[in-house]
Amino acid sequence: MGQRAAASGRRRTWRWRYLMDLAYSVLLLAPVLGVLLVVVGYPLVRGVYFSFHEATPFTEVPRFVGFDNFARLLGDPTFHTAVVNTLVFNTASVVGGLFIGFAYALLLNRDSRVVRLTRAIAIMPWIVPYVVVGYLFLFMFNGRMGIINYALQQVGLIQDFLPWFSRGQLAMTAVITANIWQQYPFFLLMLLAGLQSVPAEVVDAARVDGAGSLAVFRYVTLPHLTGIILISTTLMIINNFNNFPIIWTMTSGGPVNATTTLVVLVFRTAFNDFNFGYAAAIATIWLASLLAFSQIYIRAMRGEVAA
């Protein structure tokens, strides 16, 4: 009898504790939840709603048009260009950034005062505001007096100055270069953290077994880094989809549409042409295609891939 009463008492305190915890948790999360509902939840739903409507910032009531906006997208050459440009910009930036970040990380995976200083210097581009990065490279790539043209000419790689911003592929190259400069430090930081967590015993064991530096890198270091490479690449791909300031400051999407990525196209459609419905449709397609990857992304962010 006494025992049972004690057990039910324990259950009651347990349940009481559970309820208290739940109340605390909800209370603590309420402000975050409230703000996110207003600034993320509502705009997201409203945005998708716009994509099925014809709307300008000035229309009182958006007109329902079903899938018209999406149907128009399929045949819109500018949209196709923007998709291709986004993929080119994104892939080249991530590959370039990963490559440079990796090279730096391997060189700086030691510990001394000089190495720490060099590391701090190597990270610097990461904190330069995007807009500044854009203008800095716009200046350096200038077709009339840019230092890059001058240097290339002095070295003998080109005869005449290249009109970087009036030819499509050149403009894309300039924009990607600026972007790589800005974002390689992120890869450097992530890969360095990864390299430092490679267990020394395993490396030593491999060495004892007669593995050379290259073999150690190939069979010990690289497999250990796969998770981190996956995470940092995923993060940067998502980041680059939203990358607006570098392109806007350097080319505003030009010449013609040679550097118009999705984000630039949506911005222009919404705020230069005031076509909210069509702009929202473009962004909704983009959202849907990224959501397809969200499972991988969530798992990567929770460290499940790395662990």
């Binding site: 975050v32 993320v40 060189l107 190597a122 800095l136 200046f139 009339r144 400069w181 607006f244």
Partner: protein, 273 residues
Amino acid sequence: MERSGSALLLVLLLAFTLFPLFWMVSTSLKTTLEATDLPPSWLPLSPTLDNYRKLFTEREGFVIFVQNSFIVCAATTAISTLLSVLGGYALSRFDFRLNRVLLSIILVANIFPMVLLLISLYEFFARLQLLDTYTALVLSFTTFALPFAVWMMKGFIDSVPKEIEEAAQVDGCSRLKALFSVVLPIITPGTMAVAVFSFLAAWNNLLFPLALTSSLEKRTVTVGLVLTYVGETQTRWAELMAASFVVTLPVVIAFILVERFMVKGLAAGAVKG
């Protein structure tokens, strides 16, 4: 052989990293004419601080832009840091289904096209007559600052052993009190990192203020740079580089203060294995 190869590669990489920064500072100390001279002078022939003086005297706009950015970014930082301490704690310590769902939503929020949210926010603020106000800027900056802040903060709180608070609770401390008097002091570096991150993200943003502000009085520095120095016919390069340097400076200072913690926070999630 291998050593000198590495050394050469490192020098090349450092040149790639440092040259643009050197060029920004060097150009900012030149006269308007010298900045676009051919052949270019590597160092200013007669260094002058004229461009910097102009920023703060002749072009009154710049001072306003810097002020605006400070106000808006500070407010964004305060809101997202405070809310992320509360929310991050709940997400770290309680494992209710609601919490797990919310954590997923917060992570997925990073995927959302900011420009899609901007379209709706623009309409929302227009209806409330809030276009061209600090309120609109702060709220819209929270869109990207808050989710990341909560996620980072959760990571930092995860690293504080539960036993420490439990001991405090046994001593008769309430849970909320334990958060502020026991957990918060331990994660101060983390909190600083979250604050700096929020500030930087807001300071860097161009997309939102470009659409949401219309008057010179409410422009942030990023929009200020875009709309002031870059002309249809001619860009004032020397001045633009000086302005760029001034815009970069607060960011660099803030970063140096918390670099250690920030890097740790970023890597914490990634390097579990």
